[in-house]
Amino acid sequence: MPLVLALFLLLLTACSGQFPQSVFAPRSDFSRDLDGLYKEIFWWAVAVFVIVETLLLIAIARYRARHGAAEPKPVHGHTALEIGWTLAPALILVFIAVPTMRTIFATAGQAPEGALRVQVIGHQWWWEYRYPTLNISAYNELHIPVGTPIQVEMTSADVIHSFWVPRLGGKRDLIQGRTNRIAFRADSTGEYWGQCAEFCGESHANMRLRVMVQTDSVFQRWVDQQRAAPAAPPKGSPAEAGMQVFRRSACIGCHTIAGVAQGKVGPDLSHVGSRATIAGALLPNTTETLRRWIMNAPLLKPGALMPPQNPSPPDLDALIAYLQSLK
C-alpha cells in the first residue's frame, strides 16, 4: 500500500509532457479548483482506508480459530459503538461536503464581464468553434489568449458529446437543443490535449481536440489570419491546379472554402493549412496524412462520413498542395 501511495504521489506531480491529458497538471483556475478539491477528498479517503482496512486485518489476524479455544462470547451488538460509527463518517462527510458545495458554485460556468465568448458545437466526430464577437470560426483546434477569461457555450449538431480538456477544466456535455456553459482562465501558454468524453458512436475514440493557449499578440495574429480570405494561389502553381481539382470534385458538396465552395457538412477548410492536425485532431497535418485521409477517410476514422476518394496521383498531389496553401 505505501508503494501504491508513493506511485500516486509521483503521478500527482508528474510532468505534464509525459501525460498530456493528466488531471494533475492543472493550468487554469477551473482545473485548479477541481484538483484541489479532489486532493482534499483523497486524503480523507486514504485516512478512512487505512483505519478500516487495519481494523479488518487485525480482526482476521487476532481471532483466527484455535483448537480447544472456548466458544466466542455471543455479542449481539453495542449501542454506543453503533452511534459512534454512524456519527464518525457523518462528520467526515461534512468536511467533504462544505468544500464541494463551495466549488460547485465557484465553477458554475459564469465567466466575468468582458470574457471572450466561444461557442463549441459537437459533430460526429469533430469540433466546431465559433467566436461570435470576433466573427471567426475554428475547427478541432481551439485558440485562446492566456490570462483572459473564456466563456464557453456548448451545443451539439447531432448526438451528445462531452468537451474535456483535463488540464484546463472538467468536462461538460454538448447536447442538441441545449446550451451548456463552462468558464475558465488559462494561466500558461501551451498546447493542451483533450477529447470527447461521452460515448458518441462508432468513432468516439477518434474525436480528439487541442487547445492552443497563446499570448495576446500571437492570438491576435491568428485571429487576423483567420479573418482574412485565403490567398488565391498564384497562376500556374500546383496549388492553383489543386483548386481546380477541388472545384470539380465531390469536395465542394460538403466543405466550405471562402470564395470557392460552400458545403456545410464537413469542417470549413478555408484555413486548413494553418492547422497542426486534421481529422478531429487525430492526425498531424502532413502531406502523407492528408493523402491517406483523402484516399480513405473511413479507414483512419471508422464511420467518418467522407467517402473514399479516387483522384489520379497528379490530381491528388495538386489537391494537397492547394490545401496546404490555405493558411
Binding site: F24, A59, H78, E82, W85, T86, M101, T103, R172, Q176
Partner: protein
C-alpha cells in the same frame, strides 16, 4: 428432462438460474477479455474494429448486469429464501418458473444479435447492441443507429424486465406471507432481509426503465420524438429515467451480496451478526437513499449548481449506512473464532475491496471533482471495485457456502483457495491501475488511445489482471464440475450455520421440511446465552406431504415473448400477433390448469 422443463420446484429453478447465469457470466467475461486484449497496445491495439469494440463493451455491461449478477442473486433467492423462512416453496411456484424461462429467452434473444446480421441484410455477422449498456438518447435514435442493434437491446431488456418484475412480486409475497410460525420480520435471516429490500427496489425501479424503453421503442418504431431534440423532445429525459432505474439497480446488485456475507461472517466466526437490527435498517436506508441520488450520474450534463449540490449531498449520505454495515461486519469478526474457509475468504475479500470502491465513490459524489472523473477509466475502476470486488466476491462466498446445501457436495477447499487468491490478485491488477489511466485522461469506451497519453503501461497491467481473473474463473468452473462426479458427502449442517436451511438434509427433499418448524428466535440452530438449539425435525414426514406436479404453461407463455420481439425486429406484424396469441393462450390455460396434476 421433462421434469426440468415443467418444474415448479424452487430448488430446481434455483439451479437452473445458477447454471444459466453462470453461462452468461462466462460469455460476459469473454467479452471483457477481448476488450482488454484490444487495449493492451495503444494506437489500434490488436485490430478489433471500432464497431466490434462498441458492441463488446455494450454487451459486456448489459450481460453482466442483467444476465449474470442479477440472476446469480436470483439463484440464491430461489434456492435459499424458502429454506430460510421455513416454507415448502415460493408463493407462486409457476410464476417462478415463468420468470426463469423469460430470463433465459430474453438472454438468448440479446445474444442472438451476435449472429443475426445476415437475417437483417447486414453485410456482417453481428448486429449486437452498440450504444452502451446505458443506451443514451439521441445516439439510440433511428437516425444515428439505423440497424437492428438497438432494437435487440431495447426488446431484450423489456423481456428481461418482465422476468425481474414477476420474480420481484413473487419474492415479496413469499417473504411476507410464507414465513414459518414465529418467524417475525426481525427474526428473518439477514440474507432474506436484504433479498426483500432488493425485491422492493426491483418492483419499483423496473417500471421506470420499462417506461423509458417503451418511449424509446415508440421513437424508433413509430416515429415519435420523446428523446429527439429535433422534434421538440429531450435526450436528457432519457438519462433521468435511465438513472432513476439505474441507481437503484446498483443496490439491486449489491444488497444480495451484502446479505450473503452477513450470513457467512457469523457462521465462520461462530458469533451472531453484530448489530443485526442496525445491519437490517441500514440496508433499508441504503435502498431509500438509493432513490434520491440518480443525477450523480449526470453531473456533466449541466444540471445547474442547486441540483448538483442536492445530489452531491444525498449521494454522500449513502456513505453513512454503508460505513455502518462495514463496521458491523468487522464487529462480527472481532472476538470470534474465525475459520478460514474459502467462503469466509471471499466474504472478507468483499469487505476489503468494497471499501476501496466505496471511497472512490465519495470522490465522485463530489460533483466538481466528478467532472474530471466521470466517463473515464477512474469510474470503470470504481464500478468494478463495487460490482466485482463487492457483488461477485460476495456471490462466490455464497456459492462456496451454500453449494453443499444445494448439491449435497462440497466444493474443493484447496481449489477454492487457488480460486480466491487468483481472483483477488487478478482483480486488483486489473482494476487498480484503471484509477491511474482515468486520471491521466483516458476516457471510457474507446477502442484505441494514442501512445502519447502515457497510459499504455497501466492498460497492460489491467489486461494481465483480467486474464488472471479469467484463469481463476476457469479453476472455479472446474471445481463446480468436479462436484458432479463426487459422491454426496455434505451433512445437513456442514458449517455449523444458525439458520433454518441447515436444519434439513443436503440437498433438501422436494418438500423441504418434514414438518414446518416453529421459530422462537433469530438463531434457531445455535446455543446462545438466551436459548438452546431447536429440537431436530423428524427424519420422515409424519403425515404425507402433497407436492404439486409440474406445468408446461409457464414455459409456453414465456415462449410467446421472444416471438413478439422477433416480429418487432423484423417489422412483421403477423409474427407479433402470433407471439401475443401464444402469451394469451398460455396465461389462459395456466389460469385454468387443474390444481391437482
Amino acid at each position: 428432462m421433462k421434469s426440468w422443463l415443467t418444474t415448479t420446484d424452487h430448488k430446481r429453478i434455483g439451479l437452473l438460474y445458477f447454471w444459466t447465469a453462470f453461462g452468461f457470466f462466462m460469455i460476459g467475461g469473454l467479452e471483457a477479455l477481448i476488450i482488454r486484449a484490444q487495449l493492451v497496445r495503444p494506437d489500434g491495439g490488436l485490430g478489433v474494429s471500432a464497431e466490434t469494440f462498441n458492441q463488446l463493451f455494450t454487451m459486456h455491461g448489459t450481460t453482466m448486469v442483467f444476465l449474470a449478477l442479477m440472476p446469480l442473486s436470483a439463484a440464491f433467492f430461489n434456492y435459499i429464501i424458502p429454506l430460510q423462512i421455513g416454507a415448502r416453496d415460493v408463493a407462486f411456484p409457476r410464476l417462478n418458473a415463468f420468470s426463469y424461462w423469460v430470463f433465459l429467452l430474453g438472454g438468448l434473444l440479446l445474444n442472438a444479435s451476435f449472429i443475426a446480421g445476415p437475417l437483417f441484410g447486414a453485410d456482417r455477422l453481428s448486429v449486437a447492441p452498440d450504444a452502451g449498456w446505458f443506451g443514451y438518447a439521441n445516439l439510440t435514435s433511428r437516425q444515428f443507429s439505423p440497424g437492428p442493434n438497438v432494437d435487440f437491446w431495447l426488446l431484450g431488456l423489456q423481456i428481461l424486465g418482465i422476468a425481474s418484475l414477476a420474480a420481484g412480486f413473487n419474492f415479496v409475497v413469499t417473504i411476507i406471507n410464507m414465513r414459518a410460525p414465529g418467524m417475525r420480520m426481525l427474526r428473518l435471516p439477514p440474507f432474506t432481509w436484504m433479498a426483500l429490500v432488493t425485491q422492493f427496489l426491483v418492483i419499483t425501479a423496473f417500471p421506470v426503465i420499462t417506461v423509458a424503453l417503451v418511449l424509446l421503442m415508440f421513437d424508433r418504431f413509430f416515429g415519435t420524438h420523446f428523446f429527439l431534440p429535433s422534434g421538440g423532445g429531450d435526450p436528457i429525459l432519457w438519462q433521468h429515467l435511465f438513472w432513476m432505474f439505474g441507481h437503484p439497480e446498483v443496490y439491486i446488485l449489491i444488497l444480495p451480496a451484502m446479505g450473503i456475507i452477513s450470513e457467512v461472517l457469523p457462521t465462520f466466526s461462530r458469533k451472531p451478526l453484530f448489530g443485526y437490527t442496525v445491519v437490517v435498517y441500514s440496508g433499508v436506508v441504503i435502498a431509500f437513499l438509493g432513490w434520491s441520488v440518480w443525477s450523480h450520474h449526470m453531473f456533466s450534463t449541466g444540471l445547474g449548481p442547486i441540483a448538483d449540490s442536492v445530489f452531491a449531498g444525498t449521494t454522500m449520505l449513502i456513505a453513512i449506512p454503508t460505513g455502518v454495515k462495514i463496521f458491523n461486519w468487522i464487529g462480527t469478526l472481532w472476538g470470534g473464532q474465525i475459520r478460514f474457509t474459502t467462503s469466509l475468504l471471499f466474504a472478507v475479500g468483499f469487505i476489503a475491496m468494497f471499501i476501496i470502491g466505496g471511497l472512490s465513490g465519495v470522490t465522485h459524489a463530489s460533483a466538481p471533482s466528478d467532472l474530471q472523473q466521470t466517463d473515464t477509466y477512474y469510474v470503470v475502476a470504481h464500478i468494478h471495485y463495487v460490482l466485482f470486488g463487492g457483488t461477485i466476491l460476495g456471490l462466490f462466498s455464497g456459492i462456496y457456502y451454500w453449494w453443499p446445501k444445494m448439491t449435497g457436495r462440497f466444493l474443493s477447499e484447496s481449489w477454492g483457495k487457488v480460486h480466491f487468491w487468483l481472483t483477488l490478485i487478478g482483480m486488483n491488477l486489473a482494476f487498480f491501475p484503471m484509477h491511474f489511466s482515468g486520471l491521466l485522461g483516458m476516457p471510457r469506451r474507446i477502442y484505441t488511445y494514442p501512445a502519447e497519453l502515457g497510459v499504455a503501461r497501466f492498460n497492460q497491467l489491467s489486461t494481465v489482471g483480467a486474464f488472471l481473473i479469467g484463469i481463476a474463473t476457469l479453476v472455479f468452473f472446474l471445481n463446480l464440475l468436479r462436484t458432479r462426479w463426487r459422491p454426496a458427502n455434505a451433512p445437513a449442517n456442514p458449517w455449523g450455520g444458525a439458520t433454518l436451511e441447515w436444519a434439513i438434509p443436503s440437498p433438501p427433499p422436494v418438500y423441504n421440511f418434514t414438518v414446518i418448524p416453529t421459530v422462537a428466535n433469530r438463531l434457531p440452530l445455535w446455543q446462545t446465552e438466551r436459548h438452546a438449539p431447536m429440537t431436530p425435525l423428524p427424519e420422515k414426514p409424519p403425515v404425507p406431504i402433497h407436492v404439486p406436479g409440474g406445468s408446461w404453461w409457464p414455459m409456453i407463455t414465456a415462449l410467446g415473448l421472444p416471438v413478439i420481439a422477433i416480429g418487432a425486429l423484423a417489422h412483421f406484424l403477423p409474427v407479433v400477433l402470433a407471439g401475443a396469441a401464444v402469451v394469451i393462450v398460455g396465461i389462459y390455460r395456466w389460469a385454468f390448469e387443474p390444481f391437482e396434476t
